[in-house]
Symmetry: C2
Subunit: 253 residues, 2 copies
């Protein structure tokens, strides 16, 4: 099932979308008992399909991406947070901050948690996974490098596009993850090249922080990162899952 959130005259509602693009409204809690109902007519604007209490991110989780910035392959997952205020949905603009001179998209497969979990063992990790979506860990690279912590460089409003849906039947074990900009392929990798697999990531983060339904783990980005400019369109594709496009808008535009 592909689960969405959509805009219904200013109210965010849960729904489902089928392979043909038909949206149905859905009732109930998405993580326990979502019941699809009638089709929704007209144009439907999709929102980010999750409302996480925390966005856990993993740095340098593809060996070749770590290498492109001259970083060693980490011995443990490198964890950081993006604030929920940075989330935008499919098609929404990512604002290029006037404070930055280098903005990079980072294509990512995103794990969506469906069940609370603390100290989850790797072998039990899939039991807390609800599904998968697509993310773009937008980064003001210059600010990330000049600040002592990554919080600001990765935490600006609009720096976390997520969507278009959460696929609850997706197999993430060996799929292609790409970022194209204005149709030109830039980042290109496969999830089989993760340094730390999804079960290991869930075990690692839940060893310090309780995972809550709706929380997301962004699994890191493949090599090929290059900057974008206002006017560009960034498209992150995860093979078999879908694609997530967002235009880049200059601040104050």
């Amino acid at each position: 099932m592909r689960i969405i959130r959509y805009d219904d005259a200013g109210t965010a509602r849960w729904g489902v979308i089928d392979a043909g693009g038909t949206v149905r409204a859905a009732a109930g809690d998405p993580y326990t008992e979502l019941v699809p109902g009638d089709p929704v007519g007209g144009d439907v604007r999709l929102l980010a399909p999750v409302t996480p209490s925390k966005i856990l991110c993993v740095g340098r989780n593809y060996a070749d991406h770590a290498a492109e910035f001259g970083n060693p392959v980490p011995k443990e997952p490198l964890i950081f947070l993006k604030p929920p205020s940075s989330i935008v949905g499919p098609g929404e603009a990512v604002v290029y901050p006037s404070l930055s001179g280098r903005l990079d998209p980072e294509a990512e497969l995103v794990v969506v948690i469906g069940r609370a979990g603390r100290r989850v063992k790797a072998e039990d990790a899939m039991s807390v996974v609800f599904g998968y979506t697509i993310g773009n860990d937008v980064t003001a690279r210059d600010i990330q490098k000049s600040d002592p912590q990554w919080t600001r460089g990765k935490g600006f409003d609009t720096f976390c596009p997520l969507g278009p849906w959460v696929d609850t039947q997706f197999d993430p074990s060996d799929v292609r993850v790409t970022c194209t900009v204005n149709g030109e392929l830039r980042q290109d990798g496969r999830t089989r090249d993760f340094i730390f697999g999804i079960p290991e990531l869930i075990a690692y983060v839940s060893a310090f922080s309780t995972l809550e339904p709706g929380d997301v783990i962004m699994t890191g980005t493949p090599p090929g990162v290059r900057p974008v400019q206002p006017g560009d369109t960034m498209t992150v594709t995860v093979e078999g899952l879908g694609e997530l496009s967002n235009p880049v808008l200059a601040e104050d535009a």
Copy 2:
């Protein structure tokens, strides 16, 4: 007014508390129209008095604390995030992780946001402030130092005691902030020694991230940081605001 959250047979409710300790239930949104009602009888267990979507923290905001760890005085505020899952209330145990060998309390004055704000100017900053509470930025110092980012070292469950109330009439401009452990004074500073004042902090963080009602800004910690052990009780006091005590419990105890 001193605003609290309290446990009512398993449900968290908003309330107010007077100088004599009498708790009244309260109805309505705490940030716009909280209306105190009848006194609540019996023992009342206070909860953390806020439910922030993000916990923005400032590192090294007292010049003498920066110096004690050999760090230069920063030219800009050093911002990091703690996850909401790290919050505990007054009296709740802080769990000493088995993964760490050094746990430090950090006494902090905490700003509570009452009104959404983006790109708030320093001169307008007080208009988005709802009030103030007390916080303890508990830190696994060894993990903070060995990890590339501070997220894990400062983000364990229970590492963010907050409370006991939000005081909406408090003047934070020159008050003493201390941490005592088992009654012994350790940290001791005054808010007049902030490197970056509250209006500057609000301007700085809202320049990248929209502040939401209930969000908190932890304003940094004064010098005197020293480790605690399981069995210790940490008490953070902000002069005129109150005190926040939490015991340290060994993991798996």
